[in-house]
Symmetry: C2
Subunit: 694 residues, 2 copies
């Protein structure tokens, strides 16, 4: 018997044969070696034996049994212990799988096809008999007991995300946003006079004098030991020509590097939008603000669930490091892509801005997130000092200055602050209602005089979460729909003009609006038609609309929109609309008083505002007041990257915002219930929609 290495209070017989430390049974049940073994790389926890017990039979993973899982189409081999799930194998091998519900077995998205070998699967209603016939399994519900080969089917494979404004489009979109470039970390090329007996100040004082003469404010400047140690050689190596790198922090400045000569290549920066669903990276030339490369991909944390709550649950269970590593792996992969494209040295990247919601930022920086999901929903940190890229884990110049967008509350984060910086309404007179529709749904109301904010828990439906064929706005997503009311035949637009394999947020808004218009569903979201029509079918008892027949898709299956999907969308849009109402009420205002409504978020280019009003997502106001501005988090991050004024503005915005919590707000619950209707139970609030119904 010995004490568990992770839970010193527990006695256990299980011993890691390699490192001779004890692990309790709970630890053994956890499949993540990252958490329970202190020597991850060399000692997966399943190399266990039970000391003084009956044997190793009751150890969840045998030390002797290990199997190979091959993931097709990429032929990726992963060794896993007997009894591990395929989802675990995918996570271990860094095989991107969509697993919205974080392995609970409730979303049915982590489908794989078993190509050879056998595996044990739990029974699941989420696979159709046809799928079962084709050897489909759910990765999270299937365990490995021999060497097997699995294939990731078309509908599970993560495809290139479509982000509005990538590449050249990003450059065009960002052009002119910042004119006066003031980086955090700047390089100063100096030609110093050599010391003489009459001028024998120390090397550091000589450097500071040189910086001062070059217009640098040295009054609050210092340097760390590393720089002090390299200073003498650096200053003399090229005859008193040096380049000093200085980070201007909030309260002081730090010389972070001194190199000989004046030939340093120009500074590059990264603006990073760390979204719950997807991450976007802009590689920026700090000289003129040109976007040299723009890359994006899904946040690998998605393997731990679609929304921030699931991510926090996962961090509590497996440790925040796991989530941090997943986020960093995503970002570092995107950085690699960006620098490969631009053919640059990663050491030139020395300015970084991170913009994300409060949970994403906590996870990425390995700060405890657990209290964000518990009343009173308190984050650990809301404002951050300038950090060093090396300590954050970003694979750029380790001394790179990292500005983290501050966030005013647990559910209103730095991404929203970025949104304000970009949209700029908080600097202007007009009363503005701002909504960012992402995995959550954050609202800001106000103008240059005051700002109120709230989060309305819209859920991930608009990003595909909880929707049978829901997906992100990536290749193969249906993004526009019209339905012929006579034939019920849909006309669809698909991202990248390929065969469809699912439907994204803008497509869903269109679809619901069209389904009501065509009379397929009632205003309460219930199907009116029975299964007689060729476009209407049933899955068990649940009616569904056939958006595309199997033959018209890339997945060789009917793409359905279920009654429960409609219900989910109604709940999401209802939460957003209720949020508007309550926030306005808190401010003593009503919808008619809004001068401007700004919508941002991950819808891509295509958000049909008219249809968004018609389903009751957006209020029924003068359409000229609407302004759709795309991904504002990345744009605000870009602006803060280039401009100290915008970095200061971020802090000011945070301090100005009054956060209203809806979680225990009765009015919010009432408004939400009233909004669970298309467009609303009170049609008077949607006069233009009412007219159409009449």
């Amino acid at each position: 018997m010995g004490k568990c290495v992770n839970h010193p209070g527990r006695e256990t017989n299980f011993v890691c044969m390699k490192h001779n430390h004890y692990l309790c049974e709970e630890c053994l049940k956890c499949v993540d070696p990252n958490i329970h073994c202190k020597f991850r790389s060399s000692c997966p926890i399943w190399f266990m034996e039970k000391r003084g017990g009956k044997g190793i039979d009751d150890v969840p993973f045998s030390k002797t049994k290990e199997h190979t899982v091959v993931f097709q189409p990429d032929n990726k081999e992963v060794r896993v212990p007997e009894g591990a799930t395929l989802l675990y194998a995918a996570q271990l091998g860094d095989v991107p799988l969509n697993a919205s519900c974080n392995g609970k077995g409730s979303c049915g998205k982590c489908k794989l096809i078993l190509e050879s070998g056998t595996a044990k699967s739990a029974t699941t209603p989420l696979l159709t008999p046809a799928e079962k016939g084709k050897n489909y399994v759910l990765a999270c519900q299937t365990t490995v007991h021999c060497d097997i080969v699995v294939r990731i089917p078309e509908e599970t494979l993560e495809k290139k995300l479509k982000i509005a404004g990538m590449g050249k489009a990003a450059t065009d979109r960002m052009r002119g946003l910042v004119t006066d470039i003031t980086p955090m970390l700047a390089h100063f090329s100096l030609e110093l006079s050599p010391p003489t007996l009459d001028d024998s100040i120390s090397d550091m004082d000589r450097l500071l004098r040189g910086l001062s003469r070059n217009g640098c404010d040295v009054s609050r400047m210092s340097a760390g030991l590393t720089v002090m140690r390299e200073l003498a050689a650096a200053m003399r190596d090229e005859n008193w020509k040096v380049t000093a790198s200085v980070v201007k922090k909030r309260f002081s400045s730090e010389i972070v590097g001194v190199v000989p000569g004046n030939g340093r290549a120009g500074s590059l920066g990264l603006a990073i939008d760390v979204g719950t669903t997807s991450i976007v990276v802009y590689l920026v030339d700090m000289k003129d603000g040109t976007v040299m490369a723009a890359t994006s991909s899904h946040n690998r944390q998605a393997a731990c669930g679609d929304d921030v709550i699931n991510r926090i649950v996962c961090a509590e269970k497996d440790g925040v490091k796991k989530l941090s590593d997943m986020g960093l792996a995503t970002i570092n992969g995107l950085i690699n892509e960006a620098i490969a494209g631009a053919e640059i040295d990663r050491d030139r990247i020395d300015n970084v801005v991170l913009s994300g919601n409060t949970t994403m930022v906590h996870l990425l920086l390995r700060i405890e997130p657990r209290h964000i999901r518990r009343e009173p929903y308190v984050p650990s940190v809301s404002a951050f000092p300038i950090l060093k890229a090396g300590s954050v884990g970003l694979k750029v110049n380790p001394e790179a200055a990292v500005f983290v967008m501050p966030g005013p509350a647990g559910y209103v984060g730095g991404d929203i602050v970025s949104g304000l910086i970009y949209t700029g309404f908080h600097r202007e007179d007009p009363l503005t209602l701002f909504i960012d529709v992402g995995t959550n749904g954050e609202i800001v109301l106000g103008n240059k005089d005051w700002l109120m904010t709230a989060s309305c828990s819209a859920g991930p439906a608009f990003e595909g979460g909880g929707i049978r064929w829901g997906m992100r706005a990536e290749e193969g997503a249906i993004e526009k729909v019209t339905i012929d009311p006579e034939t019920l035949v849909p006309a669809i637009s698909v991202v990248e003009d390929v065969l469809p394999r699912g439907i994204c947020g803008s497509g869903m808004i269109d679809l619901i609006s069209e389904m009501v218009r065509a009379g397929i569903i009632q205003q309460n979201g219930k199907f009116t038609r029975d299964a007689g029509h060729p476009r209407i079918t049933k899955d068990g008892d649940e009616p569904a609309y056939i958006l595309a027949f199997a033959g018209e898709t890339s997945v060789d299956k009917d793409i359905l929109f279920m009654e429960s999907d409609v219900e989910n969308i109604i709940r999401s849009k209802g939460a957003v609309y209720a949020g508007f109402k309550v926030l306005l009420h808190q401010a003593g205002l009503d919808i008619s008083m809004i001068d401007r409504m700004i919508i941002t978020g991950g819808f891509g280019q295509y958000l049909d505002l008219e249809k968004a009003v018609s389903i009751g997502l957006l209020p029924d106001i003068d359409r000229r007041k609407f302004k759709y501005m795309g991904n504002s988090s990345i744009a605000g991050a870009y602006m803060a990257l280039l401009s100290e004024a915008h970095r200061k503005e971020a802090v000011e915005i945070c301090n100005r915002m009054t956060y209203i919590d809806f979680s225990s707000n009765n009015r919010f619950m009432e408004e939400f219930t009233s909004a669970l209707f298309i467009p609303h139970t009170n049609l008077e609030e949607f006069p233009s929609v009412k007219r159409k119904f009449q």
Copy 2:
């Protein structure tokens, strides 16, 4: 052939068999594995083979031959390669040996007695035939070729240093120096209100609010990632009672730790005087300034030479890390002693002040020192930010705030600034001449309106360097001498009242003065008496005074004072006096205008001012103007440890001082030449001494 791991430009055949890296011949010749092997602990560099060459014959150390050296009286065993010197063996085994000349074979101090086995020794004139008969060898001139046992003779053993004001005396001396205690790192015990929906600011903001309500200025305060990561748990673990540790830096404040509860044990501090010769550590209770323990020992760097020049040369040859490690080993040893005595947890030590000359500080912090010894004698750094003990290498709380005394010039360092803080004359009206007699000899002239400073290269004679039987003011050192002019028999006082084994600075001043008075030497330092008198002898051609006969000593040898020793002392005192004259001249003043003269340094309690004047070390002014103030570096460090005002004062003093360089000053050379006489070539400058001669 391969590239040397240390000098990539060099091709070599020598390979470390253990790690398979190449080392060039220069690297192989260096006996310090610390410098040339990247895997010091497991791969001493002598495990070498020559690839593609003739064999291993021309490798300085064979891989196959290694021998054991046992050092008596402590029975310390050290394994060394064939051919290594005994000095190297002592350094490797951390056996303290006095090696003033850093292994050049010129000081003759590193004597050992070969007790068993044989060794190869170079011929040396520095051992007497009698010594050779007793198997004495010089450690630096003797190489090891078989297992041997050596004994450190009484005269080579380093004994406990006598420092004025240790222990209780230190407490008494420091009492009342600082009344308003303002540490760098302070702990704030807070009881915070738990968050509610109406008060849901982040944990960090709650902490800052708590600090602010406790009178802490939070306007420029931030925290690093480590604190952010621990914050949530720390705040909740004891129900919102926390203790925050805050470091007040020059330009901002940093929260360096947050722990649950309010039961933190009180802060302790260290004041450290890093002298070239000896290092002194005070362990201080930051609550009330009590000195809980005072420890001191020789700076282990002494194995690399007596003075700063030799230390820099050694750092250039073997790398500055070696010297840094030696200094840190000394300090960490003293810290261990202090905390063992006071029975406290080292983690409580969270405030540290380092005071030392510019070279000592550079070496300790591993900052390049080489330009300090080359015209125009420029240090790398003269002012330091608050550092962390962990990054410095001090074995205390790794987050402990370390203040390094700034130093105005390469040869006037932080120890002198400490001296000013302690003596305080720079705050007062009287024109003051300040001299610190240590291994160098730094002078400051001025008052509250202006300050000039210079270093006069007095050399290490007063600390025993370059003097045949010279030693530090430690056990067995002759510290007072009077000579009967009739019999020439001396009356001596010895530190700790034991049998003498050498003579320290205050003893030498006495001795020279007495030798002149008794007519043993002339005013030019030459011996008048010939060898006929029982107290006068000759060593070769050189006359010497027998200060103690072998039978009266603990070393069983005559303790001699040589003519060349007299010459060395005359040069040292001449340099100091010339320094006074030139600095006064630069200021347009002369000696008579001095209102006060402050003498500090390592003389211990006993400096006979009258005799110091009589040999021409101190000017012949009204004796009431003299003030002897002991070790002022440790006292100033103590004051800066406790008080922010004194830390700020240090920076101000540095900025106020005008440094005068004597190295190329013709007037200094003239004054120096004139002072090479006892007391001076111009007796008019020493009227009271002149009267005695008349």
